[in-house]
Symmetry: D3
Subunit: 322 residues, 6 copies
Amino acid sequence: MDNDFEKMAKELKTFGPMMVQNPYCGIPTFFGLPFSENCEDLDIALVGVPFDLGVTNRSGARLGPREIRNQSRTVGAYNHHAKMTPCSSYRIADVGDVSFRTVYDLKEALEDIREFYRDLSSRGITPITAGGDHSITFPILQATARSEKAGLVHFDSHCDTAPPIHGSGLQHGSPIRNAVESGLVDPERTVQVGIRGSSEVLWRFSYESGMRVIHIEEFYELGWKNVVKEIRELMGDSPVYVSFDTDCLDPAFAPGTGTPVAGGMSTFEALQTLRGLSGLNVIGGDVVEVCPPYDPAGITALAGATVMFEILCLAAGSPALK
Amino acid sequence: MDNDFEKMAKELKTFGPMMVQNPYCGIPTFFGLPFSENCEDLDIALVGVPFDLGVTNRSGARLGPREIRNQSRTVGAYNHHAKMTPCSSYRIADVGDVSFRTVYDLKEALEDIREFYRDLSSRGITPITAGGDHSITFPILQATARSEKAGLVHFDSHCDTAPPIHGSGLQHGSPIRNAVESGLVDPERTVQVGIRGSSEVLWRFSYESGMRVIHIEEFYELGWKNVVKEIRELMGDSPVYVSFDTDCLDPAFAPGTGTPVAGGMSTFEALQTLRGLSGLNVIGGDVVEVCPPYDPAGITALAGATVMFEILCLAAGSPALK
Amino acid sequence: MDNDFEKMAKELKTFGPMMVQNPYCGIPTFFGLPFSENCEDLDIALVGVPFDLGVTNRSGARLGPREIRNQSRTVGAYNHHAKMTPCSSYRIADVGDVSFRTVYDLKEALEDIREFYRDLSSRGITPITAGGDHSITFPILQATARSEKAGLVHFDSHCDTAPPIHGSGLQHGSPIRNAVESGLVDPERTVQVGIRGSSEVLWRFSYESGMRVIHIEEFYELGWKNVVKEIRELMGDSPVYVSFDTDCLDPAFAPGTGTPVAGGMSTFEALQTLRGLSGLNVIGGDVVEVCPPYDPAGITALAGATVMFEILCLAAGSPALK
Amino acid sequence: MDNDFEKMAKELKTFGPMMVQNPYCGIPTFFGLPFSENCEDLDIALVGVPFDLGVTNRSGARLGPREIRNQSRTVGAYNHHAKMTPCSSYRIADVGDVSFRTVYDLKEALEDIREFYRDLSSRGITPITAGGDHSITFPILQATARSEKAGLVHFDSHCDTAPPIHGSGLQHGSPIRNAVESGLVDPERTVQVGIRGSSEVLWRFSYESGMRVIHIEEFYELGWKNVVKEIRELMGDSPVYVSFDTDCLDPAFAPGTGTPVAGGMSTFEALQTLRGLSGLNVIGGDVVEVCPPYDPAGITALAGATVMFEILCLAAGSPALK
Amino acid sequence: MDNDFEKMAKELKTFGPMMVQNPYCGIPTFFGLPFSENCEDLDIALVGVPFDLGVTNRSGARLGPREIRNQSRTVGAYNHHAKMTPCSSYRIADVGDVSFRTVYDLKEALEDIREFYRDLSSRGITPITAGGDHSITFPILQATARSEKAGLVHFDSHCDTAPPIHGSGLQHGSPIRNAVESGLVDPERTVQVGIRGSSEVLWRFSYESGMRVIHIEEFYELGWKNVVKEIRELMGDSPVYVSFDTDCLDPAFAPGTGTPVAGGMSTFEALQTLRGLSGLNVIGGDVVEVCPPYDPAGITALAGATVMFEILCLAAGSPALK
Amino acid sequence: MDNDFEKMAKELKTFGPMMVQNPYCGIPTFFGLPFSENCEDLDIALVGVPFDLGVTNRSGARLGPREIRNQSRTVGAYNHHAKMTPCSSYRIADVGDVSFRTVYDLKEALEDIREFYRDLSSRGITPITAGGDHSITFPILQATARSEKAGLVHFDSHCDTAPPIHGSGLQHGSPIRNAVESGLVDPERTVQVGIRGSSEVLWRFSYESGMRVIHIEEFYELGWKNVVKEIRELMGDSPVYVSFDTDCLDPAFAPGTGTPVAGGMSTFEALQTLRGLSGLNVIGGDVVEVCPPYDPAGITALAGATVMFEILCLAAGSPALK
């Protein structure tokens, strides 16, 4: 038998309410965890960023946090792969959503996000985020990346290293470039997984800066185990941020996203890749681009909540936290 | 000018957050009001009853409270018709959802509901409820009806006075009969508005017990103003409970309900009828049968939230509260 | 008390199963009535015509009969307005769908329909139909109209008296013209109710042949009671066919139709107009253009089933049947 | 007979293709009219503004022009009420969408819109617009309002005269205030029709500046004919702009909008009110806030296209054009 | 050539109607087979159980049988893998739905199901079931398991061996435990395939009783061929029941289910695993948890119908039938 | 670095507008390419065939071209696999939709299609088509196949080599048989990929005429690389037509199709197989059976647009074009 049920049962006792109440009941928080607006005494904060001003195509990701919360009620508390119940070992709470002074100017709004995370960072809290569009990753990294440059494990169908396009260098096609150019992320310890589509010309920066770009066809050629191996070698013991753009999944698995690209990976393959990263020095992570208006059965928000829980477990198992 | 803006502005200052944050942000509570699980020091409690065990047709109303909360974020705080900002005059909170020992036995589950409301009742709190299917109204009335029998203003396409059918006398087709037979509601001060469809044979009890049944064709023949007049005369100063089954609305206005019946009233007409009841001695009320799986654009939950706010304002304007 | 419950109860005893079984159970037939493929010993036959080859815009009405059957399970058996339980007074059955030799040639397919109804007609059975697009009304009339020309009560947003367009004179924009030109329908006893939209130029035939065209604005100007009065005067005691194109309803009430036109009547208004026709010499009727792929919550099929039941009751109350 | 078919037929000859091709065929333009990117030699330009940066609630109106074009293919060419075929009397074309330098800064984006319309204005072309959110009306008015202040007929559930909120004075809750404060619109010749909901406190400016605010309950109290009469008197012969926010309609008629408010008018009532304005000196108009992601059956875009055609006919019948 | 067309053609002659009528026509039965309410002279009965009282999360599976019937019309009659036309070799019919005395008490309702299947069992008919939620498998097994304990091939994302939770030991999380504890199923010949998610703590019974639990990651590690091999070895010649919970599939393949879990197998992989079981001594089977309200395009019901046909073919090819 | 960015950038300069305008803006053409109704001076024509008269099951594919155009705006211009920007090397345009004299007679309508393509063929233009149902492939081949019989790479779940069924030999189940019987396609150079389902008895012709039928289970057994190898060997240097029926994909990847069959391949696997065909002598191709009414999130149209772009690139890389 590969499960220690006594331990599980004991751990879950402190986490009991979730086992008693049906998942459609009550005010939805991430994974049914307590809501803590003041963020006091936390190890890990679960944050919503209801924001989609940065998109170049379909809007709607502003509703992502709400639907990820709803769907997350059947996800967690125990992680079968990591043999871990993060919520019984660490102080973890839903700290609500970033609030904005403005959502009508991309530059200013991203500053609001940055300030929210700087506050978490100053208290030593690891942030795990549900977006929102991918433009939010840049200000999160501004607040979260510490003295040492972060490595980046980046799941996506796009490299998001475009030069300024459509009138802005801050939209959701450029956050990774911005993070590198600002000295927050080490491009040589950046792996981009699941890349595909027709925008290759926009991503020259990925190649020139030395990122490891794993197109979807190479992902299948290597298999997720070898991808994991390569990522682990590249990341070593240094700090790592995990950014998961839902559109790395095939539209069958994630129809509810703003810029879907046909021909992606399955949710299972993405989860296994994530699980392979356990033990890395994860300092934060996000799930972005869940866009509920295009998700009629809620499966994208469910996949997003599941990925968010895996990233939460990576953070909880990270040496950074100990 | 018919609005006292200074007063509004002052009242809303205490209610400020809602005007600052966009409605898609934050953990959703009814009308963005504070969440208060312990129900302390309240005048009015907003309650969710995520329950649909009592339905005879399509299930799904268990998700009603969640979606009514979501849609309610653009509803309230000010009531233009009553010139009232209830939340600045009274202590009102979202007290969360009834929790159940079981949801697998209709009889026992209704007892759980009754106990929840008895607790509110013992503290003198007026309950306003978002269901859930209509079977919940009987246990709510068991807890809410006081020494004096309640009058009942009942919006519905069905009379809900059926004898036991489909194997139960507690399902959602019989709550009004149960309330009368239990001596909680005065049938001669009961008005049923919007009745239609093919189940007339089941509703003999309405006629025999002396209820005022206003079929939809009579509703249009009289006009809502005369319906209001008749209700007010019948209710007088005695205590009144308001039960609003969403299927009184035409399916165009409320597709998301379990047992829709074609040929109903518009949301505007229902709202005007409700508004006409201001000043009655309202001791509680509910909105039931919002069934989100059949509500692809959310308009039923929005109508439900709007009706719930009107009933909240009736309760806030009731002599019962003063 | 305006209901004779003893009589209802007695009548329903023979119709008992429907009151016992929940409406989502069992193989769906129209109103839960018996299925009778051989059509023996019937007074009225309920027929499905799963056909949409005749449309000029969106297809999908071929699925109309299936969804009308599904939704019809909560409709009937008692008609509160007519004080009638047609199924206990007459032999009425669901006789299934017209089967086609071909559905790839409009002309031949309409002949298949005609032959199906000729068989019913030869046995003296009154047909009530769920379509299908409106092109089916012409072959039904070919079989149903008897020695005397039929009057026609025609609910629609289009006059359907177009000359041949889009390459055919048999498509769903011309059935009424065809019926008149074939001598089946008396244009001077034809009333077209709910007309609107931009195709006026196609409907010259309506005016030139002497039909009474009631545009939607005139419908509201007169009120449904006066419309009923006018129809009754025009129809007298002569045979009448009732054809109800779902798009006479506003798209709010009937989104699931192939050629919706904004600005129509409500389901209630249509039902009241229909109910006003009781006692006319109705020899058959149809509900057409219910198009389920555009009906996400099923409200159009429900409206269609409700209208079909009213027409069934008109037929059951017709002197033609006695 | 009230239709001049010979005239219609003749006019439509020049407009023939639309009668030949089924509406689901071909590249969709507004009403199937020619596409003319260079805007040369036009009387009236039909413009799309695919933009929703200004919303305070749900985004998605950026897809409005595309779906209004799709649904418009069954709308027009003849207007039965005005006895008019505008496209055969005037040079009218779909001139495509406003293109943006940026969509990431509300202020700059609105300037792009203004410049686009200034170009049209400088050529004497009357613009009819499909939005987009309501923030676009301010820059359109900046370009369209001429020497004389414009009167404004404004259909909406919100007054849109809010002070700066949610961090901006340019978002979709304030365009009418901005237009008045900029001296473009005469508040004393501004009528706001269909107003309702809970935001009254934000609209003090409407009352203080002298606008005529017709709440939905007053709209029903007066009836649309009296509303028309009052508007006509107020507008006189002076220039008038017509702005139609889709959320003036009840969510049953227009579920696909960003900020729906329960209890609104029907599409028919809105259309009749619009039709009543024929002959006014209309210098432009818009339909805004059609939000396709919440419009599963397309009925909101259809209502929007129908309203757009009526406004087009108002412009075509305006003395301004002659 | 690997197909014996002469044989197929001959077999299908007796099964002709299905090849003639288009699949959207006629009253829907499972695979277009005859309807036989009295169950006389059958080898295999296809049963619907429209029931979802046992769910712990989203309801709606009560509509499963209806939609599986609808989608099944394009599935069957020939099985290319088994080279079998079961309906021409055996007497197989759709026997309709279980009817319930009550659906308001889980315990009593399950007794109704048990009695229905006891009747089938007493006539020696093999039942193949379309649910309904998974709680129905326990009463089916009570009626179907014979003198010898049954082996169980169980596809699911959950082990369904929970102790009493949410107030009941009969809800859909416990049927497999109940069957083992009642001595109906041999846990050591029970294989659970596709397991995943966060509820591991609830499934201790699976491990302690000796079941073979194949988590989804082991399923992919082994490959379906090895899974098949292992199952066949474990089952041997003894009787086997096959229970297929739709949520074993990834939500991409089966969005329409009550408790979806991200990261599952594809429909192809499930079908191949099922096909690998041909020749086992299959005594019955079910497909459960198809929940149409969350299945906007019908793909889950289609997958369910396809799985149901494979299980039907397993039963038809079972030595149990000969 | 495996991308020649200088070359890409230069090529895209001529194709600039698409990189500037957001994809939800403007009149939608295939891949944002120019619209050219007169087809002058083209190498490749992108054609829409809005037609679904040939279906045996659900209709709706007539809306395929419109939605493929909409979704295609995020697809192309660069092909990362072929290192190709076809639109900068060849004259390629969207030439609009086939227009029909009639859509009410399958035989005549197919003749209209044939004539449209004969015109293209006479000018030496390679046609790439977005359907429409699969019946259109026969008339396209009549116009496109030249002196030498074409080889055929056919992705589908059905062989489409049925004898006349449901009253016609031209419906969408028979085009491949028709093409072979008419001497247009060489059955011995025909590969059918992805075949599955229950209609094997209808496809005898495939086997008897010598086609290579690769059922889905063999596709997975071989792997796409070996399938590619086999196709390339069979095709050699002779002309090849590529016909892609969307239902070759699993319904998870392509819910929006008329006759879905569970258990198909993923979009990625289909794309890789297509990409493997580069360099073959491709003379034309089509994507058919995208059926938008069953595609609520648009993922099928997106997959269709992506496949269409791959086929376009095959044509652009074909020796036929040089």
